[in-house]
């Protein structure tokens, strides 16, 4: 099956000599919810910039549903909706005008653009603000405006570069829900984010970019399977003098009402609860100490960095 987006051997060297991409290749299948992760300066935004034609590639090939962005520029562009990291609309224009104009740039007749604009502004809770100049919107509203603008021509691929940066938790979750809905309706979504919880919650596939190279490209499930150890924090009802002893598991006291327990891959949590039950410890709540993906991400990126350093030495 033709991938929704295919990147082959993409290189980018900026005019100042900075090597941003060192030949990355990846395929995103139609209907996927794909995360692109990486530390700051890894090359995520450069990749999106090249896909959206705001950055000129040095070498490589990009196809969108089989259409090369160089040779079939117009057809490829029609399939893409881009939500950039920074606000890039005129702050003096009204919300509805911004979305309508974007429809116009994609050749949508005004009546059709108006229908589409109303649909997405309503879905994103901005219809009541349609006559408000963009500069008067809150940060979260501006982000939603960029999503509505990117969707007005109904692209089959939506690319979001850190869409929830600086957005409060409630709004972030409502945006997740919206993205899940349009993904379920068939839109392929590619997302870069610093919130690893976001990637874990939304995405089925993940690529990790570091220093211009892809260090991991797999399914979220496969990636999470690589976890060798998870640490859980248990809150208990009674005062603890010391961390409860559970044979085969390392435990550490945090304070008199909580302790942490390390669970190795393959170990069962049932044994932990049995041991605690026998010791008369009542667990009232339990949570993962760290985001699981975050642990993997840090280990992968840091191993890449240390490898680079070792080679440099």
């Amino acid at each position: 099956m033709t991938p929704a987006l295919s990147i082959k051997n993409l290189h980018k060297v900026y005019a100042n000599g900075l090597v941003a991409l060192k030949g990355i290749s990846l395929d995103v299948q139609a209907g996927d919810f794909f995360a692109v992760l990486g530390p700051n300066g890894a090359g995520k935004s450069t990749t999106i910039g090249i896909i959206s034609s705001l950055v000129r590639k040095t070498d490589g090939q990009i196809t969108v549903f089989g259409k090369d962005i160089d040779t079939h520029f117009s057809e490829a562009k029609q399939e893409l909706g881009i939500v950039p990291q920074e606000f890039n609309f005129s702050m003096f224009e009204k919300v509805l005008d911004i979305v309508l104009q974007q429809g116009g740039y994609y050749g949508l007749p005004r009546a059709k653009a108006l229908t589409q604009a109303e649909k997405y502004l309503r879905q994103l809770g901005l219809w009541d603000k349609r006559d408000t100049p963009a500069r008067m919107l809150s940060g979260g509203m501006k982000r939603r405006l960029m999503i509505a603008r990117a969707l007005v021509h109904e692209p089959r691929i939506l690319i979001l570069d850190e869409p929830t940066a600086g957005v409060d938790i409630e709004l972030r979750r409502s945006m997740w829900e919206f993205l899940r809905t349009i993904n379920a309706e068939g839109t392929t979504i590619i997302l870069t984010t610093h919130y690893l919880e976001e990637a874990e919650s939304l995405c089925r596939h993940v690529a990790i970019i570091d220093q211009g190279e892809i260090v991991q490209n797999t399914t979220m499930k496969q990636l999470l399977k690589r976890l060798t150890k998870e640490v859980f924090i248990c809150d208990v009802a009674d005062d603890l003098g010391a961390a409860p002893t559970v044979e085969g598991y390392a435990t550490h006291l945090i304070d008199e009402h909580s302790f942490e327990v390390e669970v190795e891959k393959g170990q069962s949590l049932n044994r932990v609860f049995s041991a605690l039950d026998q010791a008369g410890v009542t667990v009232v709540s339990m949570r993962n100490k760290a985001n699981r993906l975050e642990v993997l991400f840090v280990s992968m990126v840091s191993s890449q960095t240390s490898g680079e350093k070792a080679r440099a030495v």
Partner: protein
């Protein structure tokens, strides 16, 4: 992108540009009208009455075509340079650059916006001139085609300025240090026949002199130079700026990293 879609994109850019300069009419339409009123009163009426005639024409009638052209070319230029640079500065230009809109449509859209403002101010100044003198058009075809081509020429020049500009200062340098001197020395207020031979020859190198001369011919029927040569020069220069602008857009000069 199909032709009808390209026309939708073009109409969108033009509508946006017209909306922009009419929304801020106090900054865009009113100042040239006030400035030209002062020119009409001071140069045309107060000083003009003492000058009498220029090339056999009443001075007020002589300056009217020049002042109309001056308003048209400065406004066409500044509309495109400020609008396109603002879009670059705010990064809203990316809205168009990520879309399938072809470069030629982007260029035509911005230039049409600049021409709309230039011609709009031109019409306002013409109406204003009617308070001071009678206006007769000797040759409508020459008058209209010269004003349109001049407007396009300066819209394109403003576009190139905006592409190269990095700061707002950069878009005021050309109008201040190049455009204004060339305009004032371009036969708007005087006939080059008054100049010594050497300066008359130097003046021939000023393209605005020929544009004003051709326009004055269209309105008054008299010209200091060869009208058809001016026409051809203006056409070729406009064509050259058009392809330079298109080339810069195609290569993403200061637009794409």
């Amino acid at each position: 992108m199909q032709f009808n879609q390209q026309m939708v994109a073009l109409a969108t850019i033009v509508r946006k540009e017209i909306k922009r300069f009419t929304r801020i009419w106090v900054q865009t339409l009113l100042p040239p009208v006030i400035t030209m009123s002062l020119y009409f009163v001071i140069f045309g009426k107060l000083i003009g009455d003492r000058i009498g005639t220029m090339d056999g024409i009443a001075y007020m009638q002589f300056v009217v075509p020049g002042l109309i052209m001056m308003a048209v070319l400065t406004n066409s230029y500044s509309n495109v340079s400020s609008s396109f640079f603002s879009a670059k500065f705010q990064r809203s230009i990316e809205e168009i650059l990520v879309s399938p809109t072809p470069n030629v449509i982007i260029l035509l859209g911005y230039c049409a916006g600049g021409m709309a403002r230039g011609l709009c101010v031109g019409v306002l100044v013409t109406l204003l001139a009617l308070f001071f003198t009678d206006i007769h058009v000797h040759n409508w075809w020459v008058t209209v085609s010269v004003v349109i081509m001049t407007s396009l020429f300066f819209a394109l020049a403003g576009f190139i300025n905006a592409i190269y500009a990095n700061t707002f200062d950069d878009i005021s340098i050309v109008p201040t240090f190049i455009l204004t001197p060339l305009t004032y020395l371009g036969g708007v207020f005087y006939s080059v026949s008054l100049l010594p031979d050497f300066w008359r020859w130097v003046s021939q190198l000023n393209p605005i002199l020929h544009m004003v001369g051709a326009f004055r011919y269209g309105m008054l029927g008299t010209s200091e130079g060869n009208i058809w040569l001016a026409f051809l020069g203006l056409f070729l220069a406009t064509l050259a700026l058009f392809f330079i602008s298109l080339h810069l857009l195609k290569h993403g000069k200061r637009l794409r990293a």
